[in-house]
């Protein structure tokens, strides 16, 4: 069993740049579970999440010189994963439906029999939130990151994260059945 590596994330990234093969592995060991969770919660589908995580981390592995140190290594890795997730969602949305697979979209709306908003499992509901709201909701409300950290990952102001989270929560509250229209 390998001993824990005491080096900082930045030291590991520098070691990776210097050609130390296992330095980046240690970074993935430290942050991989959270990066995986972000990809999985944003994309919903495990195969899509695996594809995106691989694409993102291989990109980071190849282009570690692009890290300028303005943010932490963790923030940088998260940013790459989140951006790849958004790219994937937009790519999928632009493609014509194939008729197979990719069960991202769950029909949502009023139950005609009861006149009530259909209650969905929270993960299905998340998949029906617009991506610009879904990502900050995943980071802040699901993953528990501070708003400032989410803002750093997304490279937007703190107020933008709060606003997008607020709008996402409103939509989710409806999808989850916590909010119902008067008289419904």
């Amino acid at each position: 069993m390998p001993l824990l590596d005491a080096r900082s994330d930045l030291q590991l990234l520098e070691a990776h740049r210097s050609g130390e093969r296992r330095a980046f592995d240690e970074l993935v060991r430290r942050h991989g579970d959270r990066l995986w969770a972000v990809a999985l919660r944003v994309l919903r589908d495990p195969e899509d999440a695996a594809d995106v995580l691989q694409d993102a981390l291989e990109s980071a592995y190849r282009r570690s010189a692009a890290f300028r140190g303005e943010a932490s290594v963790s923030t940088w890795l998260h940013r790459i994963v989140v951006n790849k997730c958004v790219d994937r969602i937009r790519y999928d949305r632009a493609r014509p439906p194939s008729g197979y697979g990719r069960p991202h979209r769950v029909p949502v709306g009023r139950d005609p029999a009861e006149g009530a908003t259909t209650r969905l499992a929270v993960l299905d509901a998340l998949a029906n939130v617009p991506v610009d709201q879904r990502v900050p909701v995943v980071l802040v409300d699901v993953m528990g990151y501070p708003v400032a950290e989410a803002a750093a990952i997304l490279q937007v102001p703190v107020g933008t994260v709060k606003s997008r989270c607020a709008r996402g929560r409103v939509r989710l509250a409806g999808l989850l059945g916590h909010l119902r229209e008067e008289g419904a």
Binding site: W36, P46, L53, Q54, R169, L172, H178
Partner: protein
């Protein structure tokens, strides 16, 4: 001030209340918005609290073994691309590291996969020594799929049935010929349908017995 009937609008009463709940535009102004929101405010705020609680209760997840293995294989492939430029071809230290296939990324579950299943010495098909404890992890990391006719799902199903093994419940991820306790067989690493869990099963040559069958991970 509008009321709760403006449900889930794109910029109305409910959204302003949710933004105030999130601390916008600032804590003081948000408090004023909440205080002035009128009837239904408490119900909406309770709904937002319940929503956040449901989101916070989403179970944490760990990166599945198969995903870690794919990452390891991908990093190895990148290293190999770079080798002609950066490495001497007879660099024995480098060769040693490459053979280890990034053990940090191959979780204990994968590494233990075959350690528990293989009780005898294993060799590769050409007789070269193979470390049985890392065989499953290695074929996953390398993406090795050298299983002959067992690649065909019908043949695989028939072989498992004839050998007396449970049917496959997930895709064939990797595999290769092995020798277990002196008998030739084929290591098959199968998905299980459960994220992060893989099954390692070794039908004997001729599919007349099961030499190993273990599900781990996740």
């Amino acid at each position: 001030m509008n009321g709760p009937g403006e449900y889930a609008g794109s910029g109305g009463w409910l959204t302003r209340l949710a933004e105030a709940d999130a601390g916008l535009p600032d804590e003081e102004a948000a408090a004023r918005v909440v205080a002035a929101a009128g009837p239904g405010t408490g119900r909406v705020l309770a709904a937002l609290v319940a929503t956040r609680a449901e989101l916070a209760a989403v179970a944490p997840v760990r990166m599945p073994t198969a995903v870690a293995a794919r990452l390891a294989a991908g990093f190895d492939a990148i290293d190999r691309e770079n080798e002609p430029v950066n490495r001497q071809p007879n660099d024995t230290d480098d060769l040693h590291v490459r053979r280890r296939r990034r053990p940090l990324l191959l979780t204990a579950a994968a590494a233990a996969l075959v350690a528990a299943a293989f009780v005898g010495p294993s060799t590769g098909p050409a007789g070269d020594a193979v470390d049985p404890a890392s065989a499953a992890a290695r074929v996953l990391a390398e993406g090795t799929l050298d299983v002959g006719e067992l690649r065909e799902p019908g043949t695989l199903a028939a072989c498992l049935a004839q050998a007396g093994a449970a049917p496959a419940h997930g895709p064939l991820l990797a595999g290769r010929p092995v020798v277990v306790a002196g008998r030739r067989g084929t290591l098959l690493v199968l998905g299980t349908g459960a994220l992060g869990r893989v099954r390692s099963v070794v039908p004997a040559e001729g599919c007349d017995a099961v030499l190993a069958d273990l599900t781990t991970g996740g």
